[in-house]
């Protein structure tokens, strides 16, 4: 197979170009919000949220309203349920997140199985960017722009809260508000992920690139943008492999991300070993 037929030929088709655009959108936004989720130790919440927005998205789709608003409402419901279980039910936070998110996810699966919507449950779970339309790209593009702007605007406060919430509070940063901004952005990211890699794989694209920047100890000022680059690369390569190997796009992107993490880990370990042996020789 020539390089042309591997890299260029697939994009002669409109549905492949649309799939690439929408996957790149997810690959741009998810690593940015995922980076903060990792820094704020909210990875489990991110994963739970990607599952729990399903009923809101399906109801919104059935009612013909914006799926972003459906996702945001469900994210709010998740937050209220978790808060009530922690405060009134003496539950631990991770226990409450686990129970509430899986209940909402189960509700979403039931609704999807009853829905007459053309999108099947597997589209929501594993993504199907091949069916993306120009309208989807436009709407998700606007959502992506909104999330990126929000994250850049909130950067100083998010950083202060991630490193030391107590001190942040002492200097007047509203810690709850900063976390709420992050949770809203994560809910929006899930909606974008829904259109490309699906709810089950969004977490890979969110956290994978951030983990790679951590493996190489890249400082936070550069790491966010490098993570976005890794996300775009993983999405693009995943779409290509999905075409050539005839596999779903979501898992292809998630596996590309995982392979990159494995390669990064091997490179880092080899580099550390080589540095250590040089040090021993010089001693």
């Amino acid at each position: 197979m020539s390089l042309y037929s591997f890299f260029i030929e697939p994009f002669a088709y409109e549905f492949m170009r649309n799939a690439l655009f929408i996957s790149i959108l997810a690959g741009t936004v998810a690593p940015l919000t995922g980076y903060w989720a990792l820094s704020r130790r909210m990875v489990y919440l991110t994963d739970a949220m990607s599952h729990s927005v399903l009923p809101g998205v399906i109801i919104a789709s059935m009612l013909g309203i914006s799926i972003l608003s459906g996702a945001l409402v469900t994210a709010l419901v998740l937050a209220i349920l978790v808060s009530a279980m922690v405060r009134k039910g003496n539950s631990s936070e991770d226990g409450a997140v686990g129970v509430a998110s899986q209940s909402l996810f189960a509700l979403g699966v039931v609704l999807a199985s009853r829905s007459t919507d053309s999108k099947s449950l597997s589209h929501y779970l594993f993504g199907n960017p091949l069916s993306a339309t120009y309208s989807d790209i436009f709407q998700l593009g606007l959502t992506a722009l909104l999330i990126i702007s929000l994250m850049l605007w909130a950067h100083p406060r998010l950083l202060a809260v991630a490193f030391d919430p107590e001190h942040a509070s002492a200097i007047g940063v509203k810690v709850g508000r900063a976390d709420a901004i992050l949770i809203l952005a994560l809910a929006g990211t899930t909606v974008i992920g829904l259109g490309s890699v699906g709810v089950l794989m969004t977490i890979s694209l969110s956290v994978g690139p951030a983990v790679i920047t951590r493996i190489f100890s890249i400082d936070i000022s550069r790491a966010r943008f490098i993570a976005m680059g890794i996300g775009i690369f993983s999405s693009s390569v995943g779409v290509l492999f999905s075409y050539h190997l005839a596999i779903p796009v979501g898992p292809a992107v998630a596996l590309t991300c995982s392979i990159m993490i494995a390669i990064s880990f091997i490179v880092r370990s080899a580099s550390s070993r080589s540095t250590n042996s040089r040090l021993q020789v010089s001693v």
């Binding site: 820094s39 850049l152 605007w153 100083p156 406060r157 950083l159 202060a160 991630a162 490193f163 030391d164 107590e166 001190h167 942040a168 509070s169 002492a170 200097i171 007047g172 940063v173 920047t213 951590r214 100890s217 890249i218 400082d219 936070i220 000022s221 790491a223």
Partner: protein, 249 residues
């Protein structure tokens, strides 16, 4: 009880009938204290005596009953005071994050809404570099946190508080885990701040250091046991051992 009267100086911070609460638990009961600018004050007492709780309450992070006046203005619970800087214990922070020292100092400007946003980035950076310079840590600015020693990390945290030019600096166990030279460097820094007019209040376990370097010691045991010159107050730690045993957690 030994107490210190501030003579001829207007107090910058005044606590009256001041009790600190952690939830429903009263951690410090009915304090009446006045602090003048430029004092170097050590809060001493065993674990659970209320040192950290008192610092948190003054910083606006714990609830209190009674009155707290800062520069003659009444303070309210939960409202941060721009002129009060707080340096928490190092162990409680996220040292695993890939931050450079300058990034940490920059977070000290995050609460100032006039400064946040990319428009003011260069102004914020200048303040942060100036603060690093003031703690003699200019060379650490671009180093990742994970590569800093305990003493260097402590100086970076102090710089983060100094970025807002506080008139009161609160520190929770600033020497904890530091070797002697690093501890001495931090102490010199605190002395310099107090000589420049900043009220410095630090929770301290190192009694010999308190006696050798601080101008005033306050001994806590859920309330006030003693307040005065360290050479007079520290011995009361031993004479009040029964009271102290009761609050040793």
């Amino acid at each position: 009880m030994i107490s210190l009267e501030i003579v001829g100086q207007q107090p910058i911070l005044e606590l009256s009938n001041y009790s600190v609460y952690r939830g429903k638990f009263c951690a410090v009961n009915e304090l009446n204290l006045k602090f003048a600018p430029g004092e170097l004050v050590a809060l001493s007492g065993r674990n659970g005596a209320g040192k950290s709780s008192l610092l948190l309450a003054i910083a606006g992070l714990a609830s209190f009953k009674g009155s707290m006046r800062f520069k003659e203005s009444e303070c309210h619970h939960g409202h941060h005071q721009p002129g009060i800087g707080y340096v928490p214990q190092r162990a409680n922070l996220r040292w695993d994050l890939p931050l450079r020292a300058i990034d940490v100092v920059l977070t000290g400007t995050s609460g100032d809404h006039h400064l946040t946003g990319y428009k003011n980035r260069s102004r914020r950076e200048k303040l942060a570099w100036d603060a690093l310079e003031s703690v003699d840590a200019l060379d650490l600015g671009n180093r990742l946190l994970s590569t800093l020693s305990g003493g260097q990390a402590q100086r970076v945290l102090i710089a983060r508080s100094l970025v807002s030019k506080p008139e009161v600096l609160l520190l929770d166990e600033p020497l904890s885990g530091l070797d002697e030279p690093s501890g001495q460097r931090v102490l010199d820094l605190l002395k310099k701040r107090s000589q420049e007019g900043t009220l410095v209040i630090a929770a301290m376990h190192e009694l010999d250091v308190v006696q050798g370097h601080f101008s005033r010691a306050i001994l806590l045991a859920g309330g006030l046991l003693a307040d005065g010159r360290p050479e007079k107050v520290i011995p009361t730690l031993y004479t009040n051992i029964d009271q102290l045993e009761k609050i040793d957690l």
